[in-house]
């Protein structure tokens, strides 16, 4: 009346709270007498009228103390609403409405006021509906409407619930049979209690409710309208969970109505949201509702799938699970039996793939026509044992290999010499490593390891810090947690997204295991596959076929990149040494063997391998004493896969008469029927021993010194007999060797043999070039057959032409050579044979630590005639130290003067050396005794 609406509202609120408290207390303590009024039976449940007018009839009832609880509450709510209407706060009405309704219902039960069943629901529904209408009517502005909408959704929800309650009471739900007479009576009672609607042209909510209670059809219409509106409003304000709850109610209603497909839509939506957020109990409950719907719809596929899923749900009671487990088996046997295709479903529903591991094959690699096995560990959530008809993993080609894997290196891995062997090995290793790098396939996987690490488990980066003030005193000590901004990563949303339609991969090539039982809990299954093609393969989809019709598929392995490589192991033929550590030595027979390994395929009978050798290399079978030949055909017996046959052979490389140490290269060509190309096997032979010779001169006599040594890498001894040196022409040699030289031994541990011959010739006759051949019979210590080793050599310019003699004489006036005193070196060059080289140059090559040559060290002399005395040159030399000093060496060379006829100005005189045997230096090893520089009485020359 004063227009102080807010103050008035406070007063009404006070009254409301006080009343509520009294009622609540009445339950525990003694209640005041006046409260008894409100315990009287309720006969009227008229809708609240939300106007600003004072409801006079209700006020009078209260004054007369005849008001029931509902009357009183209605009055209070109407007054409160009136205040709010006058202050234009319609949303406040809406928010208060629900509280009032809830409080009133509680108070009703506390006060035990008698009322017709459903009366309270009627009143509550009407209160909600009226509030909604009032809000609609009043909220003119957008913001007010917005505020109202937020509040409206729960009101609609409550109105819908109450209507459902009424419908249940009056037998109006679609599932119930025709209303009984009691129920019809109740409808009449309730309608009467609602009273008449206010005289208004609009259809009031009271009328609407009355109409709804009249027939099933109108009830259904009103209910669906309210529910849809409530759901829509909830969605609008973002309360999706509430919306889904109403969706479930709707689903229940629709399935009662017989429109199961509509129900399924709501249920699936709800189920997905529960699954996503981990509400397993709710999801399980929703599944139970879904399966009921599937049963109604006679959707056997879905029924079977859901039965399996429910049977595997740990949250449900075991009885329920067992029931659906039996249902699943029954459905498979009865309903799915006629179907061609199996019913596909997600593996993770009922099983958990724990790990998968490719078992290593007996050999290192997987070979065609052999088993590749994979061990799967599966956790079954089923309550009982279940028969798995087939477990399979599909196989996908990872890398296509055009050519068969047959590396040429592997084919003739012939460890013939130590050197070649290592060379042959190294490229093979590198090939292997590159292969393993290119294929980053893994062979074993634990699916739990694939999950991203829980970021909450990372250790925190906590440091302690001391903070100081400016005067270096401690201000504070802190513990700091550095919170590095972690890069925001997209969480894998596939976790939530259910793979929509499980697609079955191609199982034409697959790992398989037929008919076994899966027990509850962990199971290990080994699936296997006979590899048929070469290449790299990847594991794909996992499939478990249960009872022949229900197929569980999982794509969990695909991301893991598990795979394996299949190779064909070709037939390999090696030519091997029997004693691999020893070198091949030419001139000796060697045991060899031809090793044929069948690889992954079988070798048929009547196969022959043809061996051809290069010149100088002969071969024969080791067993029979047939002659050696350069071509041999070896028949191979039929052998099973992965078997090896060895054919012993003997090999002989003839010795080439060569002087220098060189390894001989021979080749064996293998022609095999299963290869198109001819395989080449290189063989390296080293000579048994090497001969070297030297020509030795003593004045005009000539000697030949032959040294024999062995250069074979492994230890070997040869016994030498009958050494011979044969010369061509009329040259003869005289053997200076001991006659029992048959015991001479040459061994590869640097034991050498030396032999000496003198060349017999007229010293004064100039001889031409001469060819000599050294031969010796050798045999290895353990063998009997001796073979001939020969070594040819040419001897040229061996005749002695000049003899040099040197003599040291003391200087003038002294008798002895003394250090640091000039002495005279007498040089005598004598020509002993015919020669065209008459112009000679001598050079005194004195050791500069011992001799100092005064004046010229070199000079040119001419030897025109052969005189007994020869040319004499004397040089001044000075010994630098005392003792026995070797005389300075003298070198004689051919002096070819500058060709004066030639125009070429650049032509210089040049020197050419003599051959070693042509100049004999008689004083080469001479020493002279030089006395100390102190003056001595006598001079001594020692020659």
């Amino acid at each position: 009346m004063l227009g102080l609406y807010e103050e008035a509202l406070v007063q009404y609120d006070e009254l409301d709270a006080l009343f509520s408290q009294f009622v609540l207390n009445s339950n525990v303590a003694e209640s005041p007498k006046w409260l008894e009024t409100f315990r009287q039976p309720i006969t009227c449940w008229q809708a609240v009228r939300l106007t600003s007018l004072v409801p006079q009839n209700l006020r009078e009832l209260i004054i007369k103390k005849k008001a029931s609880l509902l009357d009183f509450r209605s009055y209070l709510f109407q007054r409160q609403s009136a205040m709010l209407l006058l202050t234009f706060k319609p949303w406040e009405i809406a928010s208060r409405c629900l509280t009032t309704v809830h409080n009133t219902l509680v108070e009703l039960s506390l006060l035990n006021a008698h009322a017709v069943e459903g009366a309270a629901a009627c009143w509550a529904h009407l209160a909600c509906a009226e509030t909604l209408r009032a809000c609609e009517r009043i909220s003119s502005t957008n913001s007010a409407l917005e505020a109202c909408t937020n509040m409206n959704a729960p009101l609609l929800h409550n109105a819908k619930d109450k209507l459902h309650e009424l419908g249940k009471l009056c037998g109006l739900l679609p599932c119930s049979s025709e209303p009984t007479s009691e129920q019809l009576h109740l409808v009449v009672m309730l309608s009467a209690g609602m009273g008449d609607s206010e005289p208004n042209n609009q259809q009031s909510s009271t009328d609407r409710l009355k109409e709804a209670l009249c027939s099933k059809k109108s009830f259904q219409q009103y209910y669906l309208e309210l529910a849809e509106l409530a759901m829509g409003t909830y969605k609008h304000i973002g309360r999706l969970r509430f919306a889904r709850t109403i969706g479930r109610d709707l689903a229940a209603f629709y399935s009662e109505l017989g429109e199961t497909s509509k129900a399924v839509v709501f249920l699936m939506d709800a189920l997905r949201s529960y699954e996503e957020q981990g509400w397993k109990d709710l999801a399980a409950q929703t599944r139970l509702e879904l399966i009921a719907a599937a049963k109604k719809m006679n959707d056997v596929d879905r029924y079977a799938k859901l039965s399996a899923r429910i049977a595997s749900t740990a949250e449900l009671e075991i009885l329920v699970r067992n029931f659906y487990f039996e249902e699943m088996l029954k459905t498979i046997k009865e309903d799915l039996a006629e179907k061609q295709e199996s019913v596909l479903t997600e593996l993770s529903d009922c099983f958990k793939l724990v790990s998968a591991e490719l078992l290593p094959s007996e050999r290192d690699v997987y070979i065609t026509d052999n088993k590749v096995q994979c061990r799967l560990v599966i956790d079954s959530h089923m309550p009982k044992d279940v028969l798995c008809t087939r477990a399979a993993i599909s196989v996908e080609m990872f890398q296509d290999k055009q050519t068969e894997k047959r590396t040429p290196v592997k084919n003739y891995k012939t460890d013939l010499t130590v050197n070649v062997g290592t060379q042959a090995n190294s490229p093979r290793k590198s090939v292997d490593t590159t292969e393993s790098e290119s294929n980053t396939l893994i062979t074993s996987i634990r699916l739990d390891d694939l999950k991203p690490k829980n970021p909450l488990l990372n250790p925190m980066n906590i440091t302690s810090k001391l903070h100081y003030k400016e005067d270096k005193t401690l201000q504070k000590a802190t513990v700091e947690c550095q919170n590095p901004k972690l890069p925001l990563r997209r969480t894998d949303s596939t976790k939530y997204r259910k793979p929509s339609a499980t697609v079955r991969n191609n199982y034409e090539t697959c790992f398989e295991c037929k008919t076994f039982t899966i027990h509850p809990g962990l199971n290990t299954v080994v699936v296997e596959y006979i590899a048929q093609k070469c290449g790299t393969f990847k594991l794909g989809q996992v499939s478990l076929l249960i009872e022949g019709k229900l197929e569980f598929l999982s794509n969990a392995l695909i991301a893991g990149k598990m795979g394996y490589e299949v190779e064909t192991q070709a037939i390999s033929v090696y030519l091997n040494k029997v004693e691999p550590k020893k070198d091949l030595v030419s001139g000796l027979e060697h045991d060899m063997e031809l090793v044929v390994t069948s690889g992954s395929s079988r070798i048929e009978d009547n196969a022959t391998i043809l061996l051809k050798t290069s010149t100088g290399l002969n071969i024969r079978f080791a067993k029979d004493q047939c002659p050696m030949s350069r071509e041999i055909a070896i028949p191979i017996q039929a052998i099973e896969p992965f078997q090896t046959t060895k054919i012993p052979l003997r090999l002989f490389a003839s010795l080439q008469p060569k002087r220098e140490k060189s390894i001989e290269l021979h080749t064996v060509w293998l022609t095999c029927p299963w290869w198109e190309t001819i395989t080449e096997v290189p063989l390296h032979f080293s000579p048994p021993m090497i001969a070297s010779w030297r020509l030795l001169t003593s004045n005009t006599r000539k000697f030949i010194h032959v040294t024999l040594k062995s250069s074979v890498a492994h230890f070997i001894q040869f016994i030498l007999t009958e050494p011979k040196l044969e010369c061509d022409g009329n040259n003869t040699v005289s053997d200076l060797n001991p006659k029992n030289s048959g015991d001479m031994i040459v061994a590869s541990d640097s034991t050498t043999a030396s032999l000496m011959w003198e060349l017999l010739k007229d010293p004064l006759v100039k001889a031409g070039p001469m060819k000599a051949t050294f031969t010796v019979q050798y045999r290895p210590v353990k063998e009997d057959i001796s073979r001939t080793f020969s070594c040819p050599f040419d001897i040229q310019d061996y005749t002695t032409l000049f003899v040099i003699r040197t003599k040291l004489e003391p200087g003038k006036g002294s008798d002895f050579c003394r250090a640091s005193q000039v002495c005279c070196l007498q040089l005598n060059v004598q020509r002993v044979n015919e020669t065209e080289h008459t112009s000679l140059m001598y050079e005194v090559l004195a050791d500069q630590t011992m001799w100092a040559v005064l004046g010229r060290t070199a000079g040119v002399i001419t030897m025109e005639t052969s005189t007994a005395e020869g040319q004499c040159v004397s040089l001044d030399v000075m010994p630098l130290g005392a003792g026995y000093l070797p005389l300075p060496a003298v070198r004689l060379s051919k002096y070819i003067a500058r060709d004066t006829s030639a125009r070429d100005t650049s032509a210089h005189p040049r020197l050419e050396p003599f051959s070693p045997g042509q100049v004999y230096h008689a004083g080469k090893a001479k020493q002279v005794h030089v006395l100390a520089p102190a003056p001595k009485e006598h001079l001594d020359i020692t020659v």
Binding site: L24, N25, N27, V28, L98, T99, V101, H102, L105, V106, S109, L110, P154, N158, D161, I237, G238, R239, L240, R241, F242, T245, Y274, Q277, G278, W279, D281, L282, Q285, N454, L456, L457
Partner: protein, 155 residues
């Protein structure tokens, strides 16, 4: 006083749901779970509004720090009242009281606040277990016992 208590993780998945009370056709474990589940909607709504109000009034950041973890009554039904509480790490604690039972109807806001605070302390104790992985369901029997007694003590 309480008939159901739930601890809900950051990602809205339940970490613990404990309920007491006799199971009747309308009032059972499952129905309480629906209540808790739908309460999340109201709870999130409440959180988003507090957040926006805080960002709007960025001046008084002190209020953000002192933000009450207790969110009060989330919503109510005919039979139940649902209260919410959010820890600073976005763990949601939900408490459901029954308004039909004499003790539940007469409950005061302050009591619920204390109960939820105690529940928060119990939760903190439970996850201090070094063998508990954050984000996993709480299976501790001790926690269960303590929560049950918390619910009963206030009856």
């Amino acid at each position: 006083m309480a008939v159901c208590v739930a601890v809900i993780g950051k990602d809205n998945s339940p970490l613990y749901i404990g309920g007491i009370g006799n199971d009747t056709s309308t009032d059972n474990e499952l129905s309480r779970q629906w209540l808790v589940h739908t309460a999340l909607d109201a709870l999130e709504e409440r959180l988003s509004t507090t957040n926006t109000s805080n960002t709007n009034s960025s001046a008084n950041t002190a209020r953000t720090d002192l933000r009450d973890l207790y969110l009060g009554l989330l919503y109510s039904t005919d039979t139940h009242k649902i209260y919410g509480y959010v820890t600073n790490t976005r763990i949601k604690l939900v408490l459901v009281t029954s308004s039909t039972s004499p003790s539940g109807s007469n409950i005061r806001d302050a009591e619920v606040r204390t109960a939820l605070r105690r529940l928060h302390a119990l939760y903190a104790d439970a996850i201090c277990n070094p063998f508990h992985l954050p984000g996993d369901q709480i299976t501790s029997q001790k926690f269960d016992k303590q929560v049950k007694s918390l619910m009963l003590n206030n009856v």
